[in-house]
């Protein structure tokens, strides 16, 4: 089995699915000739032609808006937004239309759309290229937010996202793109949406994370008897897996690279407090980035939660 990085795994998923299903089309800035600025769509233009791999004008609202029109017409578009920090012009389309058309039309129209976009800090990118604002999109019932933490899961989750009948925001960590390789099978397999996975079992503390921070969390738990949960689908999230684990361990640490206030770690913490307070042995801890404007690369390592900071968080809850 091939050892692939996340770029290769996502590329493979796209290639295979486009080969299987003629309704799948790809559109976005530089996704054709250039193969995308991270080369995620490399080779697709040559394999499937310009009718299915569309270099669009430089306009995020136009890209997502037209993708909504295609999806409602019956295609399965995969739209790329070049960086998460550039998605804001398209928020109107996502919040007012993609997430609502099923409800507004009472099921007459649906929007099987995938929006792929690279997120996150840690690759020394310019301003506006490193955001992790997934929580904003978790406040929009009607869309799903998925954040894979490794190549194998990226491929399986992306295939589920493309086949899902509803719009999915698929967030790919730029730091993870080429950080690690793992076995990624060729051919069809899916990882279900709205399900978390227990990456490792443990008895003393539950560590919940997603995307790149899951990899740092896995390093941080060395030496602790920790259960680690990869949330995978951020929203709608897998409440049952979280609760079962926290009830077992009695302690919860949530690790996210967003700012703390209003971040999705806060939703998870509130949920645990509501549902499992009486099973808790210690306060819930959120390990996040700071509530500051995301700094330029010279300070980004100081901004992101480090392995040490996560270990400190785990140590805090284990004091009780």
């Amino acid at each position: 089995m091939a050892q692939l990085n996340m770029v290769q795994a996502i590329n493979l998923a796209l290639k295979e699915e486009m080969g299987r299903d003629k309704e799948v089309v790809v559109l976005g800035e530089d996704v054709g000739m250039d193969g995308g600025v991270f080369r995620i769509t490399e080779g697709l233009l040559a394999a499937f032609g310009p009718e299915r791999v569309m270099d669009t004008p430089l306009a995020e609202s136009g890209i997502i808006g037209t993708a909504i029109g295609m999806a409602v017409y019956g295609l399965k578009p995969i739209a790329e937004v070049q960086f998460f920090g550039f998605i804001y012009p398209a928020v109107n389309q996502i919040a007012n239309h993609a997430s609502r058309i099923r409800s507004r039309s009472r099921g007459r129209y649906t929007c099987p759309l995938v929006i792929r976009t690279p997120y996150g800090a840690g690759i020394k990118a310019p301003e506006h290229h490193s955001e992790s604002c997934e929580a904003i999109f978790c406040h929009m019932p009607g869309i799903k937010v998925v954040m894979p933490a490794s190549p194998y899961y990226a491929k399986g989750l992306l295939l589920s996202a493309v086949r899902d009948p509803d719009p999915v925001l698929f967030l790919e960590s730029t730091r993870l793109y080429r950080l690690m390789r793992e076995d990624v099978p060729e051919g069809d397999y899916t990882v279900p949406l709205e399900k978390a996975r227990i990456v490792q079992e443990g008895q003393e503390v539950t560590v919940i994370s997603w995307g790149y921070m899951l990899q740092r969390s896995l390093q941080a738990v060395e030496g602790f008897d920790a259960e680690v949960i990869d949330l995978m689908t951020i929203n709608p999230f897998d409440e049952e897996t979280i609760i079962a684990s926290v009830k077992k361990t009695g302690r919860a640490v949530i690790v996210s690279e967003s700012p703390k206030v209003g971040g999705f770690a806060s939703e998870i913490a509130a949920f645990i407090a509501e549902e499992a307070m009486l099973s808790l042995k210690a306060p819930i801890v959120r390990v996040t980035s700071y509530d500051v404007v995301l700094p330029l690369p010279k300070l980004e390592d100081r901004y992101l939660p480090t392995v040490e900071k996560i270990r400190k968080g785990i140590g805090e809850v284990l004091k009780y």
Binding site: A59, T66, G69, M70, Y73, P89, N92, R106, P141, P236
Partner: protein, 351 residues
């Protein structure tokens, strides 16, 4: 080196039927007597419906409503050019369009009374629900046209918006995609001169809205929006061209919003009675009546019959809209995603 003119452009205006009911035969589109009667009946019906909706709002029986008075020709004329397989993306003031394509009128009332079920369009109609965030549906229309083109479906896509909409980014992005991908689209701008309280001159320094098409590489034309024949002809020609691979067209229907923006608005705060009165003389239905009378297609008896039929249909729509079962609160959950989420299953226990 001397400067050269490297491009120059014309903006055309189309008028066929004047206020006295005289039509320019050389421009007149091919329409049978039955077609003309059908158009007239749709004009009368949409006005009758509009007046009833206003009354129902005043009586508190529906919510805020956006009237179409004065814009009937722009809506019926353009919609009459559609084929059943074409796709339509309305804005929020296209009640005449919905009526013309065959959306049951009671559903329109149901929507404006606050019930999502009114937005569910009939399965045999390719018409989108109302779009309230201004011009944000224009990229959807372009996307549907891209999908139709990809599949090789010979359909046209018609999108409606107003003069205010031309200031929105999504208008430009939708028009730009349509031009770049040479899409089978028709953009129908009902320039009714007012975006709530802001007049057309404050939306853009351009002399016409039609000319905005030029910068996206396709044709724009201004038509008398109160002339149902001019609107029909421009739309029909544009749709035919679009379906033959000729790309998109922008049509500026030069018309006037005779009523308030919505029932929550008071237009006397920002425009004069003189201006409104001047447009009364250009009424789209009156000139059709005069035209038909000259052609022997209109009599007093016919008028009474058309009005009676319109009233009966609107009565029926009103009765039906008011007699539907109240919506099931569980529908809020049913239609958010294809399947209920873990959280929704718990939340739904409240109902």
């Amino acid at each position: 080196m001397p400067e050269k003119v490297i491009e120059s452009f014309d903006v055309k205006r189309l008028d066929i039927l004047d206020e006295a009911g005289n039509a320019d035969d050389s421009l007149m589109p091919t329409l049978s007597g039955d077609d003309i009667r059908k158009i007239y009946e749709l004009l009368v019906f949409s006005r009758t419906f509009d007046q009833r909706a206003l009354s129902l709002q005043r009586e508190g029986r529906i919510g805020t409503y956006a009237p179409i008075l004065g814009q009937e020709a722009s809506q019926i004329g353009s919609a009459f050019a559609l084929e059943k397989t074409d796709w339509v993306f309305p804005s929020f003031r296209e009640n005449g369009v919905y009526i013309a394509v065959g959306q049951p009128p009671y559903k329109i009332l149901q929507y404006w009374s606050g019930d999502e079920r009114g937005l569910r369009t009939s399965p045999d109609l390719n018409i989108f629900p109302v779009c309230i965030p201004v011009a944000s549906h224009l990229p959807h229309a372009a996307g549907a046209a891209m999908a139709a083109k990809y599949r090789g479906d010979k359909v046209g896509v018609l999108a409606y918006f107003g003069d205010g909409g031309t200031s929105e980014g999504d208008f430009h992005e939708g028009m730009n995609f349509a031009g770049v991908f040479k899409l089978p689209m028709v953009f129908v701008c009902q320039n009714n001169q007012w975006a709530i309280s802001v007049p057309r001159e404050k939306q853009t320094a351009a002399k016409t809205l039609a000319q905005k098409a030029i910068s996206y590489g396709f044709e724009g034309v201004q038509v008398d929006g109160n002339d149902v024949f001019a609107v029909y002809k421009a739309t029909k020609d544009a749709l035919d061209r679009a379906k033959q691979g000729g790309g998109p067209t922008l049509i500026e229907c030069f018309t006037y919003r005779m009523s308030d923006h919505t029932t929550a608005d008071d237009a006397t705060r920002y425009r004069t009675k003189e201006e409104v009165d001047a447009w009364k003389a250009r009424d789209p239905i009156m000139r059709m009546k005069l035209f038909m009378e000259k052609k022997g297609l209109w009599t007093d008896g016919y008028q009474k019959e058309v009005e009676a039929r319109a009233k009966a249909s609107v009565d029926e729509a009103e009765k039906k809209a008011e007699s539907v079962e109240p919506p099931d609160p569980r529908d809020m959950f049913t239609y958010t995603y294809g399947a209920l989420t873990q959280r929704q299953k718990k939340e739904m226990r409240d109902f």
